[in-house]
């Protein structure tokens, strides 16, 4: 994954640390060392802590995978948080109220995400609207759709009867399956879904022609066009995949909460971007990778968990996270001169 081109072959260790991957890895190690020291009276050494840290990071991680595709191509996708809310609401509606099977709900969620991503992709690639603006519009639009679909209320297992009283229906099997733990309760299903999503994104970026096109477009769009790269299709595809990842994330979110909240996912897009950037992927496009994003996901995920087991209040957690993101990005920048 390291695309660093240093001629200094003297110290392999120094060289490894100087590469973006090395730096991202170092940041993760630092955060983990922090956990060893401030271990919250031993909470850090419990299996459950790690399971929860990974579970909590998984939804963000799914968004970050799609975000990496878009950012490497030189764009940005601000709509993922809202698309997450839209699919959360829709999947709750389909699974809880309409009793659809998982074999229908999952493809439906993917299609909703792909639809949203496709629209923002076409608006930026075809109509040449800046990605920031195009996906900002989709962010607002998808949030509106989520509220429209749900009537502005959480779509939950509580159903209103004709006389105004509530009755509760069962949590659908799909949601239970997603919210499950396996391997003796040590790994959350959501984490496995993230790992699967990561594998898909890695395969596309590192092993598929299309991934190479994304790097090329992010590096130099005009040169790519003149080299026969299908710029329009490749760029639109990145947004479609980002939307699909947001769709899966929305389903996971709904399953964990056992409801579809139209307000869910607000601000998640920024966390996802932070994860990508902390990994060392350049916001200018063309450089970086999905492996780096995994490091970024783990770094932010663990940082948040360690702060919370040390009972740092949310206000302090947010402020510290902000500082650490800037610090991480500054060290990344020094790696390229």
């Amino acid at each position: 994954m390291a695309k660093n081109s240093s001629f200094d072959k003297k110290n392999p260790l120094l060289q490894a640390v100087a590469s973006p991957a090395g730096r991202a890895f170092l940041a993760l190690l630092l955060v983990l060392a922090l956990g060893l020291i401030f271990n919250g009276d031993g909470a850090f050494f419990k299996m459950g802590t790690h399971r929860d840290a990974l579970r909590q990071a998984s939804v963000y991680g799914l968004l970050a995978c799609g975000m990496t595709l878009v950012i490497v191509s030189g764009g940005i996708d601000l709509s993922v948080g809202s698309v997450l809310a839209l699919t959360a609401v829709c999947s709750a509606q389909m699974a809880i109220h309409w009793h659809w099977s998982g074999w229908l709900v999952v493809p439906a969620c993917l299609m909703i995400g792909a639809g949203c991503g496709g629209v923002s992709g076409l608006v930026t690639a075809r109509l040449r609207v800046q990605p920031f603006i195009a996906t900002l519009s989709m962010m607002v639009l998808a949030r509106g759709l989520a509220k429209y679909t749900s009537g502005g209320m959480k779509v939950s297992t509580a159903m209103m009867n004709a006389d105004g009283t509530y009755r509760y229906v069962d949590v659908p099997p799909l949601f239970r399956w997603v919210d499950n733990r396996i391997l003796g309760g040590n790994v959350s299903m959501v984490t496995l879904i993230f790992v699967a999503g990561f594998a898909v994104a890695w395969g596309l970026m590192s092993r598929h022609r299309w991934g190479r096109y994304l790097y090329a477009i992010g590096g130099n769009e005009e040169a790519s066009r003149l080299s026969g790269v299908p710029v329009l299709a490749a760029k639109t595809g990145a947004y479609i995949f980002s939307g699909m990842f947001a769709g899966v994330a929305g389903l996971c979110q709904a399953a964990q909460e056992q409801q579809g909240d139209p307000e869910a996912g607000a601000g998640y897009e920024l966390i996802a971007i932070a994860m990508v950037v902390i990994g060392g992927t350049s916001l200018m496009g063309g450089r970086g990778g999905i492996g780096l994003t995994l490091l970024g996901v783990l770094t932010i995920g663990y940082l948040d968990k360690i702060l919370s087991i040390n009972a740092v209040p949310e206000a302090g957690r947010l402020m510290l996270t902000g500082v650490i993101i800037v610090a991480a990005v500054l060290t990344q920048r020094r790696s390229r001169t």
Binding site: S5, H208, R209, Y215, G218, R225, L226, S227, G228
Partner: protein, 518 residues
């Protein structure tokens, strides 16, 4: 008209030598500008004209030699200092902020203020005065972008004058102007002369030089060739001064036996997107045969690069005309189609449009042929590697590792990498735009050799190069473009540097190959 009796020149540059790396681009050059004269600086591309101007304008500061302004030795260290000394350069790309008003542009960086607040009314009054002095009648409160390029240029001149410029350097000022606008500019130049300004005028157009020059200085290959009053330098002599050099290395081209007609183009025009309504390429008809190198001669603005881009599908529907490749009619909507058909375009700026500098050598070399190398969509790194290694070997591309970023390579190796990318698609027709630009002499020879090999394999090559010796040496046939239209065609035997240059400058009188058809 004649330079006044004042013989202390406004500006005098003497013994100017400037090196880039090891190569001297200017050697012991002298140049002076007197008050009230238009001094034309002439020379081929790469003769050192712009380097000299940049030294005067304070852009290049590490040079040997002496600059005197009003008899006093000076050494401007920044463009700002040069401006303060009274030297203003009007570049081809204007330096106005197009989204600001005319008045704001005139006072940009030195606003008239009171207590930190800009005094708009006063600025507008003074700006209007300067604009009137140029004989312009425009509202200075309007935004610069609302005016045509010609007016913007005059605004730029007004800005220079308002900053007390006395030496005004105009670098190809008429490239974007039509005939009446040129007339207006020339009238303005006359009035500037009367006001005592000295004008340095750089142009590739003979008719303009004839019309406007008081004195002419010719540079060639960084050397000062001579300075003479315009009346003593007829066009034929001027061209001889500009070209006059021995052509060596004639033997570097080995022409293979010609094959079938590969490309035929009839009435091809390209209309660039943007404001200019003039086509960049007008009604060009030509043909190239397999194994042939067709050289395209022309100076800046000739439309040669646009012709290539149009043939390559890079202009989409803005390119009109009939094009046949191997007898098949083609109409490329995108470079993608052109590549699939076997047409390759090496662009003239490898950093901006040729390579993806952030990608590895292997990724760059295989980018254009990625469909062929990964037919099922999934990439095959081993195959890409093998292909890259083969190309690197063929082109003598030297790199520590194929995983190195393209941006880390030297200029010559970058150019070879760009060529490798196009060779990888096994082209039938190679469009080479400045294949040896910014490449050292060793790599140049290697590229010449490669062009011989490719034509021997039956590839047809169209070549643009701004270096006259290279054009004459490599081309089996030359067509010359002037302002988007074909002005002459030469066989190898007919082509002389004087004739090619004269037709490229729009002079039709000495056109030996007129009507020559292959």
């Amino acid at each position: 008209m004649s330079p006044g009796g004042n013989f202390t020149p406004l500006v005098c540059l003497s013994h100017i030598t400037k090196r880039f790396g090891g190569a001297a681009v200017l050697q012991n050059v002298q140049f002076e500008v007197r008050s009230g004269e238009v001094h034309v600086l002439a020379g081929e591309n790469g003769a050192g004209k712009s380097t000299l101007i940049k030294i005067l304008a304070g852009v290049h500061t590490d040079f040997e030699g002496r600059i005197e302004i009003d008899g006093k030795a000076v050494r401007p260290q920044t463009p700002l200092e040069a401006k303060a000394l009274g030297v203003a350069v009007i570049h081809q790309e204007l330096s106005l902020v197009s989204s600001m008003s005319v008045a704001d542009n005139l006072f940009l960086g030195r606003q008239l203020t009171r207590c930190g607040l800009v005094q708009d009314a006063r600025q507008q009054q003074e700006a209007a005065l300067w604009i009137q002095r140029l004989g312009l009648d425009i509202d200075v409160r309007k935004l610069v972008e609302q005016f045509p390029i010609a007016v913007q240029q005059l605004i730029e001149i007004a800005k220079a004058l308002s900053q007390n410029a006395r030496v005004i350097v105009m670098d190809e000022p008429t490239s974007a102007l039509n005939a009446p606008e040129v007339g207006r500019l020339f009238a303005l130049i006359q009035s500037l002369k009367v006001q005592g300004c000295g004008i340095v005028y750089i142009s590739h157009k003979m008719e303009e030089i004839e019309r406007i020059a008081d004195r002419i200085t010719v540079l060639r290959d960084g050397q000062w060739i001579g300075t003479a009053p315009a009346g003593e330098l007829p066009m034929a002599k001027l061209i001889r001064w500009m070209v006059g050099r021995e052509l060596n290395g004639q033997s570097l081209r080995h022409q293979p036996p010609l094959g079938e007609e590969r490309l035929r183009v009839e009435n091809f025009s390209v209309f660039p997107a943007g404001k200019s309504k003039q086509p960049a390429v007008r009604n060009i008809s030509l043909s190239v045969r397999a194994g042939e190198i067709l050289g395209i001669g022309g100076l800046q603005g000739s439309g040669a690069s646009e012709l290539f881009l149009g043939l390559f599908g890079g202009c989409g529907s803005a390119a009109l005309g009939k094009v046949r490749l191997d007898g098949q009619e083609i109409d490329f909507a995108s470079p993608r189609q052109a590549i699939a058909t076997g047409v390759a375009l090496l662009t003239n700026d490898r950093k901006a449009t040729g390579l993806i500098l952030s990608l590895s050598i292997a990724a760059n070399a295989t980018l254009a042929d990625l469909r062929g190398l990964s037919p099922a969509g999934w990439r095959r790194p081993a195959r890409e590697r093998a292909a890259t290694e083969k190309m690197a070997g063929l082109l003598h591309l030297r790199a520590a590792s194929l995983d190195l970023e393209a941006g880390a390579l030297s200029g010559g190796n970058q150019q070879k990498l760009a060529l490798a990318k196009w060779l990888q698609i096994r082209p039938k027709l190679l469009l080479l735009d400045e294949p040896t630009r910014g490449v050292d002499i060793g790599a140049k020879r290697e590229i010449y050799q490669l062009m011989n090999e490719w034509t021997a394999q039956g590839i047809a090559i169209m070549l643009i190069t701004s270096e006259m010796p290279e054009l004459l040496m490599l081309s089996d046939r030359i067509i010359v473009l002037h302002r988007g239209a074909m002005s002459a065609e030469f066989s190898r035997a007919q082509a002389t540097p004087e004739a090619v240059l004269a037709t490229a400058m729009g002079l039709n009188s000495c056109q030996p190959g007129a009507g020559f058809q292959n």
